[in-house]
Amino acid sequence: MIWNKRKIIDRVMSILTAACVAIAIIPLLSILYTVTINGISAVNIDFLTQIPKPVGEAGGGLGNAIQGTFIVVGIACLIGLPVGILAGVYLCEYGQNKFGRFVSFVADVLTGTPSIVAGMFGYTFIVLYFGSFSAIAGGVALSVLMIPIVTRTTEESLRLVPGSIKEASLALGIPKWKTTLYIVLGTARSGIITGALLSIARISGETAPLLFTSFGNMFWANGLDKPISTMPVQIYTYAITPFPDWHAKAWAGALVLIILILILNIGVRFVTRRKYGV
């Protein structure tokens, strides 16, 4: 084997890319490993179904935080998915003008906005207005993070639908609004669902926007206009205490949250499988 310059460069670059893969994946595996090792021992049925107990008392769990996360994320979806999807439809179908490009740009900027800004938005407009931390304020704050993601993924998925499909539909005498709603959205369905589920996975783990919107609560949810416990905030609350028992619960909470998001991601894969073998 002759070692010429080309082969050496080829070999060096291969090793370099492999090394970068390792660098990218090591923190991820390390997090999964640490969270699992520290958290698994505290996860049990009580942990998933009971509310927290006072310091010093054994047992108790994060049941209310799991419940609250579902409620707050649910509210965020009720607001964020319709607004985001319809905004995406607008941008793709009617947004070929200055206003449309401006909205796209704003959506891109919002996607990169620190999430605490969304929390400040919820605090200023909902918490101060109603005078109380609430599940609704948390949902609104999360929907602010969700909308630009859903808008842009919807727009991108719709752009991938070939013009010939739209023409086929129009030529059948299907009105434009039905073409957009049933044919174009239907064709882009899997892309839009992927975007929606990924945005849900993203907001499910957000802590900062919830700190001063939904706040926290040591009991089961008692109304959408009341403070509510959520997993990320509960984990944060436990983690900053000096109690080893609560530290263990924070690890366990992190593990449960990761598993929930993992399930959601697997759900994405499952939903976006091709419906038909081609």
Partner: protein, 252 residues
């Protein structure tokens, strides 16, 4: 001979560029009229003007009269959606709806105009696939994806889809240019059967195809209708020099 479509002084533009100039032509009922001419001569634009699909393209507009059974389809109180239901279209590249099954592709137009009865839809889907000579090949796979079929089958599926909404006229925009000779001949046979019930206009680059299937042929050049007549006459004794040049292959 009775004309199904009468075009009077039709002009069409893309933005500022005029692509059709003062077209006057009559399309005979239950006949096949072929439109031939080199690329960019306005053939496709012309037939897209016949079912108001031209205006779907941004900045495209058309003026003039297109009378279908004495109704001007460009009249201001005519809804283009109704026109497109009466005048079906088959495109150059087969374009079945990718997320729908074969059956749903065929009845898509009906379903979206509110027909929900499963039995009616099944019947129409079967009839349309039979008319499009595809039934025997797909009758056991009606729930498979439309895009799982071969190119030629996909094109016949698109024809079945157009037939399902019961149009009076079918426009074919180079329907065979993406197909092999066997699929092409199937589609040609199909057109000859369909003309019993429908008026057909076909744009084609393939002059043998025009000669094989059409009763009348129109030759377009640079957005103008150069010559129009019976297919035999156009191919055997063209009156215009440029028609003859194109047909014998001196340009285009």
């Amino acid at each position: 001979m009775q004309n199904k479509i009468t075009v009077e002084n039709l002009n069409a533009w893309f933005g500022a560029k005029q692509v059709l100039h003062n077209i006057d032509i009559g399309i005979a009922k239950n006949m096949i009229t072929a439109i031939i001419g080199p690329s960019g001569c306005g053939k496709s634009t012309f037939i897209r003007c016949l079912n108001r699909m031209h205006e779907v393209v941004p900045k495209a507009k058309a003026s003039g009269k297109v009378l279908v059974d004495d109704t001007d389809i460009y009249d201001s109180d005519i809804d283009p959606v109704d026109i497109r239901r009466r005048i079906g279209m088959v495109f150059q590249k087969p374009n079945p709806f990718p997320t729908m099954s074969i059956r749903d592709n065929v009845v898509a137009g009906l379903k979206l105009s509110g027909i929900k009865n499963k039995k009616t839809l099944d019947t129409i889907s079967e009839e349309s696939l039979k008319k499009a000579a595809l039934w025997d090949e797909v009758k056991n796979d009606l729930n498979k994806s439309g895009v799982s079929l071969s190119g030629g089958q996909q094109q016949r599926l698109c024809i079945a889809r157009a037939l399902a909404v019961e149009p009076e006229i079918i426009l074919f925009d180079e329907p065979c240019s993406a197909l092999d000779p066997i699929s092409t001949s199937k589609i040609e046979d199909l057109m000859l059967e369909l003309k019993e019930k429908y008026t057909i206009v076909i744009v084609t680059h393939n002059m043998q195809q025009a000669a094989r299937v059409s009763d009348y042929t129109a030759f377009f050049l640079y957005g103008k209708l150069i010559e129009f007549g019976e297919t035999d006459q156009i191919f055997k004794k063209p009156k215009e020099k440029s028609t003859e040049d194109y047909i014998v292959g001196r340009f285009g």
